[in-house]
């Protein structure tokens, strides 16, 4: 949208592009990352059961029960909600890079690559900090 001047057109229409475009996307990332994490967890469980069942037949019910036997709230919810922070990081970096894009189609490619690299880096850094905080507050 930046290189085709659509963001400039939004601004020229006296609409705040950060509120219209960035805020909505960042909020969407914050909400969706935990949900995606849950979906990924569910896929992981199912495929883990499939792998187990190929070696030694075991019902899904038994698999889940034995897998979650020692697990509690602290093992599940805080790590899932930390992905909301990841969503904030990804949304902020992607929107920032998008709003600053210049240089035509090549610039869009560069902005996308920068977004992925910077998001990955900051998610890893944030994860280190968040894991420490989770262990501290949810021992």
């Amino acid at each position: 949208m930046k290189v085709t001047e659509q963001i400039d057109a939004i601004e020229a229409s006296a609409v705040n592009p950060y509120r219209l475009l960035a805020a909505t996307r960042i909020l969407a990332c914050i909400l969706m990352l935990p949900l995606l994490t849950l979906a990924a967890d569910a896929c992981g469980l199912v495929m883990g059961w499939v792998a187990q069942a190929l070696v030694e037949p075991l019902s899904l019910h038994q698999f889940i029960n034995s897998g979650f036997k020692g697990a509690d709230f602290n093992d599940f919810l805080p790590p899932t909600f930390k992905t909301a922070v990841f969503g904030l990081i990804i949304g902020l970096i992607a929107c920032f890079q998008g709003m600053r894009t210049h240089g035509g189609a090549a610039g869009v490619g560069r902005a996308a690559t920068s977004s992925v690299v910077l998001s990955s880096l900051f998610v890893i850094l944030a994860d280190v900090v968040l894991v420490k905080l989770i262990i501290l507050f949810f021992p």
Partner: protein
């Protein structure tokens, strides 16, 4: 006489650019440019490619800030304004981008309705729809409401862009190369449309173009830029009578 009345009858300018300088890195684009436009008047800004004509329009709408000098809209210097304050001024301005800059995920109708949906909240949906249809009818696009920008030609996109620029009934209209990339017939149609809209809406219009024929057709005054300055300003006859070398060269090749 109030300021609004003075601007309405054209006795004071609504847009004043005074000694504006703008550089990008080491490249000086505007080097002390000054001009003004009144209601009911169309000023064409001409010049070679890369002489800062589009930058001038972007400074007037506030998409960029000048390095020095002032840009006054309705006598208010816009350089120091916050985004929300600038928004209030922009509601009275319409901008047609060089490539129309239509929102590619919205239909033609939704594109034109965009400013109305965000600023005319007291209008009901049916009133907004009627206003959109009227605007598109003014530009000859009333039959293409449901089309996407990618489904229509460049000339049609410019017409839709014009309709969107007029949505909030602006009293200042900025047009960036309205006929660029169009065939002569489509260019002529856009020129006729701009003339008709100017007659009906009595706006202060600034048209940036390198198309001298188009400028002669639609403008009351022409300003020729060279090296970031206004070399000459006046009607076409005054440009023709000028003995400035650059002006003669520009007219010769246009």
């Amino acid at each position: 006489m109030t300021q609004e009345a003075a601007e309405e009858d054209g006795s004071v300018p609504v847009v004043t650019v005074e000694d504006v300088h703008k550089s990008f890195g080491s490249q000086k684009v505007l080097n002390g440019i000054s001009l003004s436009v009144r209601r009911g008047e169309t000023l064409a800004v001409l010049g070679r490619s890369g002489t800062g004509k589009s930058v001038l329009l972007r400074l007037i709408i506030g998409l960029q800030k000048p390095d020095s000098g002032s840009v006054r809209i309705h006598r208010q210097d816009i350089a120091g304004l916050a985004l929300d304050q600038l928004g209030e001024i922009r509601k009275k301005m319409g901008f047609l981008f060089q490539h129309a800059a239509l929102y590619d995920s919205l239909t033609v109708e939704q594109n034109v309705a965009f400013p109305l949906q965000h600023h005319n909240k007291e209008m009901s949906k049916s009133e907004q729809a009627d206003r959109v249809k009227k605007l598109l009818a003014e530009v000859g696009m009333e039959g293409d409401l449901e089309k996407m920008p990618s489904d229509i030609s460049g000339g049609m996109q410019k017409r839709v862009g014009l309709a969107r620029a007029l949505a909030l009934e602006p009293n200042i209209l900025l047009l960036d190369e309205p006929t660029a990339g169009l065939d002569p017939i489509s260019s002529g149609e856009i020129d006729d449309l701009v003339l008709k809209l100017q007659e009906e809406h009595h706006m202060a219009s600034i048209v940036v173009t390198h198309d001298l024929h188009s400028a002669k057709t639609i403008a009351d005054r022409l300003a020729l830029l060279n090296q970031g300055k206004v070399v000459i300003e006046g009607n076409f006859e005054q440009l023709q009578e000028s003995d400035i070398e650059f002006v003669r060269e520009f007219l010769k090749h246009s």
